[in-house]
């Protein structure tokens, strides 16, 4: 039996495993606030991570990343909360590609100067701005020049193939993995990864691992809208080996973050121990 599954089902969390949740939202939403205040966000996010045995998480904006909103406010909140818990929360800044390109680049420069090394896009919810539209191409260019990670809610197949070729050193992470053509792209493109979070049919992650390899998948939960355990469950119960589960639970994301220069110190040590 898998040691990881044994420990998890025994209620112990994930002892001895480096765990990074790569898909977490923090901040206000249209239907609710994930936390009532900055103090609560810092305290409760740590409590949530601790309760599942998660070392750190990649945090993205909440409602301010959607169409019509000033995405800079969402980034302000991210910067503030990441400063409170720098070893556990790793910020992914958001932009709205419908803004003027100069504004977008100014904002990216501002968050980069503040230490952000990753970008979260959600253009499907921003008036369906095309994934290869000029402003997003400028975002990819900005990220590529600085070694940043780019994560998107989703890309269409022709778009991810185009941009992953155009920027071969930039890690692109597709959100909400659902199988299908994504497996082909994951296999073919060394710089494309998938965040696995999705309410998907039984065994979908097993099939993805078999098709594309465990090293292409990154843990995610869409917390704090969701409890963080919902992302871990499908990974620990997968039929994959513990070595593969370790990749998904944290090692692959840790390596990407380390390359981008934003892996917190305690996790760098843990990465070396797990390597």
């Amino acid at each position: 039996m898998s040691d990881i599954l044994r420990d998890w089902t025994a209620g112990l969390g994930l002892p001895g495993v480096l765990v990074i949740d790569g898909h977490i939202h923090m901040g206000e939403w249209r239907h609710a606030a994930t936390f009532a205040s900055l103090d609560e966000a810092a305290a409760e996010s740590v409590a949530a991570l601790d309760s599942c045995g998660i070392d750190a998480c990649c945090v993205q904006s909440g409602g301010y990343m959607f169409a019509g909103m000033d995405y800079r406010r969402g980034n302000d909140f991210l910067l503030a909360v990441c400063r409170r818990v720098p070893d556990r929360l790793i910020g992914f800044a958001s932009v709205n590609p419908n803004d003027a390109c100069a504004n977008i680049l100014d904002e990216l420069k501002r968050v980069y100067d503040a230490g952000i090394r990753a970008i979260k896009l959600i253009n499907d919810y921003q008036e369906n701005y095309p994934g290869d539209g000029p402003n997003l191409m400028a975002v990819y260019e900005f990220a590529a020049r600085r070694g940043m990670i780019v994560f998107n809610h989703s890309w269409r197949r022709n778009i991810i193939e185009k941009i992953s070729s155009a920027f071969p050193d930039t890690p692109f992470i597709l959100g909400h993995y659902g199988g299908g053509w994504v497996d082909d792209v994951l296999k073919e493109r060394p710089n494309v990864y998938a965040n696995m979070w999705c309410v998907a049919p039984q065994g979908w992650l097993d099939r993805g691992i078999a098709n594309a390899g465990a090293g292409k998948f990154i843990l995610g939960s869409d917390g704090f809208l969701n409890p963080l355990s919902v992302g871990i469950g499908p990974v620990v119960f997968a039929t994959a080996s513990d070595a593969d589960k370790r990749l998904i639970l944290g090692l692959t994301m840790a390596r990407l973050l380390e390359k981008a220069g934003v892996l917190p110190g305690p996790l760098r040590r843990k990465l070396r121990e797990n390597h």
Partner: protein, 267 residues
């Protein structure tokens, strides 16, 4: 890393899955379905002690009796699998046909029913006779708002209809089933559950919202379900096991004991 507080071991929760679908599924988005042997294998893998099972055919195809009958044949001699029939109001109005259907169900060993709300919407006059017959025997009813899969949603009219039916049949346990809600479900669901003592919620498709129901209306009103094979069981099992605000008793009730009590109440 190790969790900072120990959660209950999964086996102590005695999981009773209130929604497992049996039968072949031919659909590009879903796995090919579960036979009885595959269902038992899945339950072993995920530490699920028992499950309510229904036939995919009975949910999707008329006459539903065919799927219901095949289900009975398939699960015969399998004590961990409890068959559920998918039933709708008989075409003949009045109590006799409804009572006959319920007696046939009970005589066949069925102790729970799945009511397809998308096929027969929750109109009180439409369901009156069947719900009265089910209420006489306290048969738990799953109000199934799902489509092909376990994803579904309710409208304002559905909420009103469920309210009227549930209040008209206070001894009939009714379970809201397949309310999918990534960013929340219908805002009236929590107020409705609070105001309707015989209304419950299963967690198929619901990741966060069930906590609000447990907090507002009590954990005894929430039933564990995986929705397999349409959803990955690991999502919902870990969701309940690692919930950090409920105590172990509440988790055990949600995981299975609430459903066991409802089934024990069938007369």
């Amino acid at each position: 890393m190790r969790a900072n507080e120990t959660m209950p071991a999964l086996d102590t929760l005695r999981l009773f899955d209130s929604c497992l679908t049996l039968g072949r599924i031919v659909h590009s988005q879903y796995p090919p379905g579960l036979t009885v042997d595959q269902a038992l294998e899945l339950m072993d893998r995920y530490h699920i002690a028992e499950a309510l099972v229904h036939a995919h055919d009975a949910r999707m195809i008329y006459p539903r009796e065919q799927g219901n009958r095949r289900l009975l044949e398939a699960v015969a001699g399998q004590p961990r699998l409890h068959p559920v029939w998918v039933i709708e109001p008989p075409k003949s109005p009045g109590p006799d046909a409804a009572r006959a259907l319920v007696m046939k169900m009970l005589d066949s060993g069925i102790r729970a029913a799945r009511l397809p709300m998308k096929a027969s919407p929750p109109l009180p006059w439409l369901w009156e006779d069947l719900c009265a017959a089910l209420e006489e025997h306290h048969v738990p009813c799953f109000l199934d708002f799902g489509d092909v899969s376990t994803s579904g949603e309710v409208s304002d009219g559905d909420v009103n209809g469920v309210r009227e039916i549930a209040l008209a049949h206070p001894e009939l346990p009714m379970v809201l089933s397949h309310l999918f809600g990534g960013l929340g479900v219908h805002p009236a669901v929590v107020p409705l559950v609070r105001r309707t003592p015989n209304l419950y919620l299963d967690i198929t498709g619901i990741l966060e919202f069930w906590r609000e129901v447990a907090a507002e209306a009590g954990p005894e009103r929430v039933l564990f379900a995986t929705g397999a094979p349409f959803a990955d069981p690991g999502i919902f099992i870990s969701n309940v096991q690692y919930e950090r605000r409920l105590d172990e008793t509440a988790k055990r009730n949600i995981s299975g004991d609430n459903l066991r009590r409802l089934l024990e109440g069938v007369r």
